[in-house]
Structures are given as C-alpha cells and as structure tokens.
C-alpha cells in the first residue's frame, strides 16, 4: 500500500518536473517562464521527496531529504526573485 502511494507520488513529481521544463521551453517571456518553473520544479521535487520519504526506513534519511527540499525551495524562491529583479533592472537601465 505504502509502496503504491510512494510510487504514485514519485511519478507525479516527475510529471511536474516535465511540465515545468516544458513550460520553461514553450512560454513566451521571462516572467511567465519564471512563474511556471518555480511552481513546477518545487512541487516536483516536493512530491519526489514525499514519495522517497515514505519509501525509506531510516529517520536520518527522511530528515536529510526534508533539508534538501527546504534548501531547494528557499534557494529557488530567493534566486527566482533575484533573477527577476536583475532582469527588471537590466530592462530599466537599458
């Protein structure tokens, strides 16, 4: 039962990854791409982490997984913000 759930979560995560990257590839401008990407890959990684955490037996592994997820979440949120601001600044100065 748990195995099935975990497998579903992992697959859903992969799905989000793919959606995010397709969005990155197909959407017309930087800001919409940014939006698509941050939502998708954080969710993708989140689902992945959830699936893997269910699957794993050790507490330490689960904790590490969570730490990685948080790291990526915060880093990508902040960096998306920074990149957007950077791009914005380039636009206004040029």
């Amino acid at each position: 039962m748990i195995d099935v759930l975990s497998a579903l979560l992992v697959l859903a995560g992969v799905g989000f990854y793919l959606t995010g990257s397709i969005g990155l590839l197909r959407l017309p401008d930087l800001y919409s791409r940014l939006h698509a990407l941050t939502k998708a890959d954080n969710l993708g990684l989140g689902l992945l982490v959830a699936g893997l955490a269910l699957h794993s037996q050790e507490l330490l592994t689960v904790l590490k997984l969570l730490l990685i997820w948080l790291a990526v979440l915060a880093a990508s949120a902040a960096s998306a913000h920074l990149i957007a601001r950077h791009a914005r600044r380039q636009e206004t100065t040029s």
């Binding site: 915060a74 880093a75 902040a78 960096s79 920074l82």
Partner: protein, 363 residues
C-alpha cells in the same frame, strides 16, 4: 538500472556535455559563456555520479559549478563595466584577416589531430584488459590507511605528497594574487530577500562543510569539498554586501592561509623525527592524523578560495571593527548590517580607501 535506460541516460548526458562545451566556447558574449560553463559543470557532476565517482561529483558541484562560476561571473561583471577599449582583447585578432583565417585553420587542424591521437590511444587502452593491480593494492592496504573511503585514503595517505604539493599550489596562487594589489570593491547590500537567503544559507553551508569533512573518512567527502563549501558561505556574505565575511585579519589570515601546508609539513617532519618515513602515519594514529591535516587543509582551502574571489588583498577592516559596529565573528550574528550602519562609517572607510587608491589610482 537496466542496460537500455543506462544507455539512454549516457546518451543524454554526453550530448548535453558536448553541446554545452561547444556553445560555451563559441560566440563573444562572455557572460553567456560563463553561464553555459556553469551549466556544463552541473551536468558534469551528474556524469561523475553516473560513473560512480561521487567524491569527484561533490568537488565538481562545489568548485566547478559553484565557486569557479562565481569567480568568473565576478570577473565578467567587472569587465563589462569598463569602457570597451580597456577590455582585454589580444591585438592579434585585429590585423590581417588572411593570416588570421590561415592561423585559425592551422590551429583547428592541430587540435583535431591532437584529439584524434588522444582518442586513438584511448581506444587501444580501453580495448585491452583493464589494469587492476593498483586498485587491488589500494583495497589491500585500506585497512592500514586509517580511513575506509578509498579516495580519501589515496589522497591523504598513499599519495599524500601530491596533496601537500597541491596545497602549495593553492598557496602560491593566493600569494600571487596578493602581490597584484587590493581586492575588488565589495557588493552593495542587496535588500531583504537576499539577506534572508544569506541568513539561513550561511549557517547551513558551514554545517555542511563540517559534515563533509567528518564524513570524508568513510564516505564521499573530505577537505576539498568541505573547504569549497565553507568558502561558499563567505562568498554569500560578500555578495550580500557584508564587510565582515569571516576572514581573519592580518597575521591571523596568513596563519590560516599557511595552515594546510603547515600542518602537512609539521606532521611529516614530526614523523620523520620519530623515526618513521615522511608522512608515514603509524596505522593506529592514521585516522586521527588525517583528520587533523584535513581540518587545517579545509580552513586553508576555504580562505584561499575566498581570497581568490575577492581578487586581491582584503582591505583593512580595523576602522569599522574598532567602532564596534560589526562583530568580528566569522558566523553572522543574525542581525544583518543595515545600509545606514555602513553609511555612518563612511568617512572612516573613505579615509582607509584613499590610502589604497594611492597605490592603485583607480578602483
């Protein structure tokens, strides 16, 4: 993993690597090339993982994709702010186009020949039976090496002398950088989002560095990866516009820079005096001695990489520290320095800078 899916994975990775290398090298936009180079580093780290080289993957992720990228980006930024004629362009490319094209062809052919030779010889080597004597010797002596991660055993025991000289290379590079002048100007304080990022990223990086150093004895990790991660913490602080980025000052800084080579030489000579070969650790002590050397090396590597990022001798901070505005602790106090805080010290800072400007005229 099944053979087919591995093959698909290999194909994707190799195509990505070659394409990224090709595009990073083409064109004239330096910033584009640097970003592509960083992406190359990320994919290369994945390739190392695929080839069962997690130690190398760690170093590549930390140094190749992270710090080298930061270093190059800082250089690009500085270059792009200079007026065009001052940018470093070799004169050769501007004279006679005919000669130029001939030269390009000649060099391209030469490179193709070199690559062909390399590939031809590699094909022969791969076709013959793999040479397993040395890896067997490594695993046979692993017990006596004091660590259970074979890569760490090679780096810090069997071939420790290489590592000693490599730390000397790092030291030489940073002494050379010092001799060239003062550090590049710092960064503007970057606002709340960046500060928020820095506030949690820095402690996590420092903790991770400690973890990598510790885990290196029996799993992938070790002094280089830990040093690079520690350096990344400092670089983040610098990027966030802090003045105090955890680097010690004056003589203490020199001690830290010399720590890696120094500890190595001390241990080596100490063992020599005790009647053992240079760097011949007695097996029961080996683990402890290696950890000792690695700790010193981590600090030295981190300091060196940060100094490389600064691009010169750091400016004296004595003025500001004396006024007690910035605590001289390596770990951030949690309270970011506000822009007002920095501005209020401006006269002093300006004075200190004036002295430096005399030697370098323009910053």
């Amino acid at each position: 993993m099944s053979d087919t899916s591995l093959l698909v994975l290999d194909g994707l990775l190799v195509i990505s690597l070659v394409t990224l290398a090709w595009t990073a090298l083409a064109g004239s936009d330096a910033r584009r090339s640097v970003i592509l180079f960083m992406a190359f580093g990320l994919v290369l780290a994945a390739a190392w993982v695929r080839l069962l080289a997690p130690d190398v993957a760690l170093a590549e992720a930390a140094i190749g994709a992270g710090l080298a990228g930061a270093l190059l980006l800082a250089a690009v930024r500085e270059q792009s702010r200079q007026p065009l004629p001052a940018r470093i362009v070799s004169k050769r490319s501007h004279n006679k186009p005919g000669v130029n094209i001939a030269l390009q062809w000649a060099v391209s052919v030469l490179c193709a020949v070199l690559a062909g030779t390399l590939a031809w010889a590699l094909a022969h080597a791969l076709n013959s039976a793999p040479q397993n004597a040395l890896p067997r010797a490594v695993s046979a002596n692993l017990e006596a090496s004091g660590v259970s991660n074979p890569v760490t055993a090679v780096l810090l025991n069997f071939r420790a002398y290489d590592t000693l000289l490599e730390l000397a290379v790092l030291l030489t590079a940073v002494l050379g950088i010092f001799a060239l002048g003062p550090a590049r100007p710092g960064y503007q304080s970057a606002g709340p989002v960046f500060d928020g990022l820095a506030r949690w990223l820095v402690p996590v990086l420092i903790l991770t560095a400690g973890y990598l150093l510790w885990v290196g004895a029996h799993a992938p990790g070790g002094a280089f990866q830990a040093g690079a991660t520690l350096a990344a913490a400092s670089v983040v602080l610098r990027l966030a516009g802090r003045h105090q980025i955890g680097l010690p000052q004056g003589p203490a800084l020199r001690v830290v820079m010399a720590a890696g080579v120094g500890m190595f030489v001390l241990v080596g000579l100490g063992l020599l005096v005790a009647g053992r070969p240079f760097l011949g650790y007695p097996p029961p002590w080996a683990g402890g001695l290696i950890l000792m050397i690695e700790s010193a090396a981590t600090l030295a590597i981190a300091a060196t990489l940060v100094l490389a990022f600064l691009g010169g001798q750091p400016r004296p901070l004595a003025v500001r520290v004396a006024r007690g505005r910035i605590a001289a602790t390596p770990i951030p106090t949690g309270k970011p320095v506000s822009p007002e805080g920095i501005r209020s010290t401006e006269p002093h800072a300006a004075e200190a800078c004036h002295r430096i400007q005399e030697t370098q005229k323009r910053c």
